[in-house]
């Protein structure tokens, strides 16, 4: 069953197109990632799905309900963790969860049980009665994730869940995300501009840039589409090894450079033992082997002609700035 169905979804801000006719669907239980640079339209897409923004055109359905038609029902089905913190830091962690539960009309008995339950998932039980202003950045994120889960949503939206967190905390958050996806069987839609995050967490990713989806699929398949694995060898006789290997049909290409022989092939990890065996039986001693698999960064590069970091450096992002200015006016 599809939990999310989007068809030609578009959003304009004062004539600027933030999201440009995107279509995709997400199946129940999936972890789906929207991967792209800042200002690509990821947050705008999530905000439309979460009924916080009205689409300009196109349709978006959450659990079969149109986000334009029945916003309150959509809101019951979804949980969301916003990009910017949205906790009341003068209340305790528990009180923040209690507020949420009551807003969603949960009854007293279920409420208390569920608070314990979600605090356990994110391992914040011992800090439940502390005022949130005393929490660290990572703890706040965990509390927000717990809160997003409170009312048993079918879908959980995570907008840049690890933005601004250190590498270690990021790992911890990743593991919670995987854990709750399994334990609660909840569908997760996340946005990120971290390649390794999308790769580690997502069953499928959509690469999005300038409001358009450029590619969509499993990370492993996307990576396979754009390139082969590269095995880089250093031996005592690279030239000889190249000649020996020339008869292997599975090799796509070979390159000699500096002190290395680069072999391009599919499923490199399975080929390494063969190469070593061949080398040794021909009396060539291998000094080092390095396998490099294509990353989502390569996929991104392939589709946009730039790496995601170049993207962020080169375009100070007109759209994002534009939206910011617009905010200033309306607020």
């Amino acid at each position: 069953m599809n939990v999310i169905e989007i068809d030609k979804l578009t959003k304009d801000f004062n004539g600027l197109r933030a999201v440009d006719g995107i279509s995709f669907s997400v199946k129940e239980g999936e972890i789906f990632g929207l991967l792209g640079p800042n200002g690509a339209g990821k947050t705008t897409t999530i905000n439309m799905l979460a009924t916080m923004l009205m689409p300009t055109s196109g349709t978006a359905k959450v659990c079969g309900i149109d986000v334009r038609q029945d916003q309150d029902s959509v809101r019951r089905y979804i949980g969301i963790v916003f990009q910017d913190p949205a906790l009341d830091d003068q209340l305790t962690g528990e009180e923040n969860l209690d507020f949420h539960a009551r807003m969603y009309g949960m009854e007293s008995k279920i409420r208390k049980k569920r608070i314990d339950n979600v605090l356990e998932i994110v391992e914040l039980k011992d800090r439940a009665k502390d005022i949130v202003s005393k929490y660290s950045g990572g703890m706040r994120r965990r509390l927000e994730i717990a809160r997003g889960l409170m009312h048993y949503p079918k879908v959980l939206f995570l907008d840049e869940p690890t933005l601004g967190l250190d590498a270690q905390t990021r790992r911890v958050i990743w593991n919670y995300i995987l854990k709750l996806n399994k334990r609660e069987n909840i569908t997760i839609i996340l946005t990120t501009h971290y390649m390794e995050e999308a790769d580690y967490l997502c069953n499928r990713v959509a690469i999005i840039d300038h409001g358009k989806i450029l590619a969509i699929g499993m990370p492993s398949k996307l990576k396979k589409l754009v390139g082969e694995d590269m095995i880089s060898l250093s031996t005592y006789d690279n030239m000889k090894l190249k000649k020996v290997m020339a008869k292997m049909k599975w090799i796509r290409n070979m390159k000699l450079h500096d002190n290395f022989l680069d072999i391009y092939t599919e499923s490199g990890e399975k080929r390494i033992p063969i190469i070593i065996r061949e080398a040794e039986s021909n009396g060539i001693e291998v000094k080092s082997v390095n396998l490099r698999k294509p990353t989502l960064e390569d996929v991104f590069l392939h589709y946009t002609g730039k790496t995601i970091r170049e993207h962020e450096a080169s375009s100070p992002d007109r759209l994002r700035q534009h939206i910011r200015i617009r905010h200033r006016k309306t607020w």
């Binding site: 019951r76 009341d88 009551r102 009309g105 607020w331």
Partner: protein, 258 residues
């Protein structure tokens, strides 16, 4: 129009109460200033100035006390309304807005919270005034009138505060509102002097000040002296309160958050 969720009204009220009670310095600060007005300004004016239009035998402190209650209500209610802006700035408003709850319920929760905190602070300053400054103690029917006016004044200015908060993006405009709205409303409310003795233009301004009717009503309730019939005070303030709730709700609904 979507139904009002009482659970939501309650939890929004509850949150404000928790924050109010935890913020002891705010309660002390909000009570100290009106107390100083009463004790220092009131005592000072009473001994050095003759206020025109005061009936013989009416103590100036007794005259001033209802005005100071009006001031407490004005400040606390505006503050309660404008605090929506804090939620906006610190992101919590998103959490509120994404919940499956009608916007009216959210505004109502705020208003009920504003009434409660206003009432607590008004009663506090009144108790201090009666116990320590010997201000006249109202009789039982007076207390009922008092309650009605406390509620109407609170509702009005919480509504007005929410209206402003819905249109503003950050706290920069707050100082302007303080100087150009709250202070003139207070100074022209007849808290310090009688309206009848004012020159024509100032009297006209005072008569379009909703707080003037509030203070006059409070004064009638507390010491039985008013410049307008209490029914007029009540009617004008009621109309203003309804208008402010409607405006606040309307503007709050239009707030965009993301």
């Amino acid at each position: 129009m979507k139904a009002i969720s009482f659970a939501a009204v309650y939890v929004i009220w509850l949150r404000e109460m928790k924050k109010f009670i935890r913020n002891k310095s705010r309660i002390i600060g909000n009570t100290a200033m009106p107390f100083f007005f009463l004790a220092f300004l009131g005592t000072g004016l009473r001994t050095s100035v003759n206020i025109a239009g005061l009936p013989a035998g009416l103590n100036y402190l007794d005259f001033l006390a209802p005005g100071i209650v009006g001031m407490v209500l004005l400040f606390s209610s505006m503050f309660a309304g404008i605090s929506v802006l804090w939620d906006k700035q610190f992101g919590f408003l998103k959490e509120i807005m994404v919940a499956p709850v009608s916007r009216v319920s959210i505004v109502l929760g705020r208003i009920v919270a504003g009434i409660t905190t206003g009432m607590i602070q008004a009663v506090l300053i009144l108790m201090i005034a009666v116990l320590f400054l010997g201000v006249h103690m109202p009789d039982i029917p007076g207390l009922f009138y008092l309650l009605a006016f406390i509620v109407l004044i609170s509702v009005s200015f919480v509504g007005l505060g929410i209206s402003f908060a819905s249109r503003m993006r950050d706290m920069h405009g707050f100082q302007l509102i303080m100087n150009f709205l709250i202070m003139p409303l207070f100074l022209l409310s007849g808290a310090f002097f009688t309206i009848t003795s004012l020159p024509g233009w100032l009297s006209a301004l005072a008569h379009i000040n909703p707080l003037m009717y509030g203070v006059d009503g409070l004064r009638t309730a507390l010491i039985g002296f008013g410049q307008l019939p209490i029914i007029i005070d009540f009617a004008v303030l009621l109309a203003f309160a309804v208008a402010m709730i409607s405006l606040g709700t309307y503007l709050f609904k239009k707030t965009e958050i993301y």
